[in-house]
Structures are given as structure tokens and as C-alpha cells.
Symmetry: C2
């Protein structure tokens, strides 16, 4: 399983992806799911991938072959397309090409050939843009209302992003948010694993700014994970308790938190 | 979709289930997914159901017919079985009976006939016990390590239970926890809907103690939902920010929270 997430902000885009690939639970390997194409001063294109590794690697290999061939008007490459929208279309086409090659095998076992992608980046003066690309090759773009995309094991880490994400966040806050979202996912699903690849792209820099791999023993991530666990338990204990019917009423004046009641006990 | 959850504690069991049933998004109805068999002073048996409504209703109808026929040694009913383990076996058998009747249709469209159940309660001197029963009719029992079960749309609401649940919780705290877990699920999945059925069974009372339906406008649930949202945002903002590389180093002394930095800005 996989967890990848990207969040588009006023100041740029933050990407994060896990690195665990498993054919089964006793066959686990580390593969980067973050693929980057950069031409400084002109473009940064980041692709996160989830799903069948044979399929996603084929897509990335074909995209790289396109770049190696230089690309032309008839067959553009990721380094020659004019806009991120064109880049999304190119990747969609590439996915369809891979699926055509594997068509017979896909018909026999559709679930084996699942794949999905998050594409983000900036080309020249265009604004930074973020897309989710489906295995059918079609895609959607992030908006102000939905400024982020997740692929893979996305549910555990979704509630906190829904609650906190804001377009005017600082990049450091957004990185913190994605790491907290990862923490919830890692706790609940063994098949999503450290290390985490993190990339912070700042608008109009047109170069990969900050890219880091956070290992399991990363001191910031460990601190964050512990502090968040403590903060959640603390916040929960401060919420007013559900008033049950059966305790004598003098035991449960309305409006007291769990903490206050414990002090009274 | 559905969300049902039950948590076994030293003091008893708390059950919660949503009530939304949808054939498609424009066909939404309210059905209770909480089924109760009670004989005061002898037993309380609670069954939560998720999945295909035709299937889960058939299972419950057959169980009720068994009760109406009185039950005997050859065909026990939920009011004659001696232990909760026997109750779990009886329900498993009943699921298999329904699936035998529908076998041909199930083979044509297996996904339509999904169903799963949470069973909890107490019979006589036996301790309160909690089971999850699969659509194949087999089942597992909750333990100290895993004192809760969820069925249906369980992922959004799982992290907070994993972090907070403890066997020595008060029943009011446990009810609060399940409602917070519901809140995360309701926010992230439209097809899980209010009202919520809540049942608090206290050990050795051998009667349904407190059973309530929380409607969308329930003042406690609304307060809880808002307080939890505020607390989460507040807790998040207090976590130390991820230190990005590109800001000048004097802007980001290590160890400051987002709040403290905002005060410095």
C-alpha cells in the first residue's frame, strides 16, 4: 500500500509520499514514489504514484524516454510541454499507452493493474498547479475549495487535512500538516511505511527547493508524532463528557470536563 | 454506507451506529442498524449490522423467527443460547442460511451481498463479550489488546479510538469517544448520516440501560463537534513547525511553536 499527498498553497506546493512497496507482507521494499523533472528557471514537475509498481514504473520510464528523445510538436515530452495542463494530458496518454500494451492481462485481473498519480509543479509564468490523474488517463485539478489530493491509503490521514488546510499557510506549517497526516496513517496501516519523501516547492522559484527523506528515526518526525499523540489525548480529555443517565445526578454537573470531574472524584 | 462501532470496557460495552441507508445518493433512508434482544435479569444481546440491507434484514428476521418459535436444544434462539459465544455461532449460522438461499444471485454479483455484524452483550453470569461476525459466518472476539470493533466506513474514525481507548474508561468518556469518532467519519463521508443510535450497557445489570437516538440538532453532539474541531486546530497550531531550509535562519529558532512564531512576526 501507499500514501501520497500534495497540498497547493498560495506560496507553492508541498508533496509527501511514503516509500514502502509490498508484494505481500513478507516482501517489503523501499522504492521512491516521487518522480521529479526539473529545468532550473523554466519548470519543476513532480509526479507521485500509487498502485501497481510494474505499471507506475512503466509510465515513468516512458515519460523519461520521451524526455531523452527531446520531444517535438508531434510527441511532446515533460520538458517541452507548455503548461501543467499539457503535462497532465501527456501523463494521461502515457498511462493509456501502458494499459494498451497490458490490455489482455488487465482484462484477466483488473485489480492488479490499478494505478493513480498526483501531478504538481510550475512551468514558466503559469501559476503552480496540482492534478490527480486516474488510471483511465483522465484527471482533475485542485481548486481553492479542494486544495489537496491524496492517493493510496488516504482515509486515516484525511480528517486532519480537512480541518486545518488553508491556502495562506506557511510552507513549514503545511509540511507539518502533511507529516501529522502521515503519522495517523502510519499508526493505522502497517503497509504504509517510513521513510517519507518530502518536497517543498516555492512558487516562482522554478527549481526544486527543498527535498528531504525523513527516516524512521528522524528527530523532528519522532517529536511531532509524540507531541501530536499527547495533544490529542489532552484535547479529548478536556471535552465535556457525555452525561449518562444512570449515575446519580449530583455526580455529573453539566459543563464539566473529564479533567475537572477527575479532580472532584 | 454505514458506520457502526462498539467498545468493550471493564464497566460494560458502549455501542453506536448510524442510521443512513442509501441505494444511491438520491435515495437515502433512515433504518436502525442496532437490533436488541433483552430478557431483564437474564441477558442483553445487541447486534449492529452493516452492508446490504436486504441481507442484514433477512438475518435479523430469521433470528426473530427463532425467538418467536421459542427455541429448543436442536434449534436454539438468541433467548435460549447459554453463552455469547453460542449467540455468535447462531448468528453465523443464520448468515450462512441466508447466503444459501441467495446463492445463485450472490455468485452473479458478490459485492451486492456484503454484510458484517458486531455482536455484544451479556448472558447471566458470563462476562460481557464482544464479537465481529463476517459475512462468511465466522467471527472473532474482542480482547484486551483490541477492545473495539468497527464495521462499514471505519477508517476515518479509527485513529482517535486507537489513541484514546482504555479498558478502565468511564462509560460517559467512552460514549464521548465513540461520538468523536463518528464526528470525524460524518465530516469525511457524506453517506454516513445522523441520527446516531447510542446504547450504553453496564456490566451485570442484565438490562438495556441507556439507549438514545442523537438527532442532527442534538445540543451535546453539536457542542462536541465544534469543541473537538477547535481543540484539534488549537493542538495542531501548538506543535513545533517543520523547519524549512530556505527562510533565513534568524526567522526560525528551533523549538518554537507556530503560535510563538506568529507572535514574533
Amino acid at each position: 500500500m501507499t500514501y501520497c499527498v500534495a497540498l497547493r498553497l498560495d506560496r507553492g506546493i508541498v508533496f509527501a509520499s511514503d516509500t514502502r512497496t509490498s508484494a505481500s507482507v513478507d516482501n517489503i521494499a523501499v522504492f521512491s514514489k516521487m518522480h521529479i523533472w526539473e529545468r532550473k528557471g523554466d519548470r519543476v514537475i513532480v509526479l507521485l504514484s500509487a498502485g501497481n509498481l510494474a505499471m507506475t514504473q512503466s509510465v515513468v520510464s516512458l515519460l523519461n524516454e520521451g524526455v531523452d528523445h527531446g520531444g517535438d510538436d508531434e510527441r511532446p515530452s515533460l520538458l517541452t510541454v507548455d503548461t501543467m495542463f499539457q503535462a497532465a494530458r501527456l501523463i494521461g496518454e502515457t498511462i493509456r499507452e501502458v494499459r494498451r500494451i497490458d490490455r489482455e492481462a488487465i482484462e484477466q485481473n483488473p485489480s492488479l493493474f490499478s494505478a493513480s498519480f498526483i501531478l504538481g509543479g510550475q512551468i514558466a509564468e503559469d501559476t503552480p498547479r496540482l492534478f490527480q490523474i486516474y488510471q483511465e488517463g483522465n484527471f482533475i485539478e485542485a481548486t481553492k475549495d479542494t486544495p489537496y489530493f491524496q492517493i493510496g491509503e488516504h482515509k486515516y490521514g484525511k480528517p486532519i487535512i480537512d480541518r486545518v488546510a488553508k491556502p495562506d499557510m506557511r510552507m513549514g506549517t503545511a509540511a507539518k500538516l502533511l507529516l501529522v497526516s502521515f503519522d495517523s496513517t502510519l499508526r493505522s496501516n502497517l503497509s504504509v511505511g517510513m521513510p517519507i519523501d518530502l518536497l517543498i516547492y516555492r512558487k516562482d522559484t522554478l527549481q526544486v527547493g527543498e527535498q528531504r527523506r525523513l527516516e524512521a528515526e528522524d528527530p523532528y518526525f519522532r517529536m511531532l508524532s509524540k507531541a501530536w499523540a499527547d495533544a490529542l489525548r489532552d484535547a479529548f480529555s478536556r471535552l465535556e463528557e457525555y452525561q449518562t443517565e444512570e449515575e446519580p445526578s449530583w455526580m455529573k454537573p453539566r459543563g464539566l470536563t473529564e479533567r475537572e470531574r477527575e479532580r472532584m472524584d
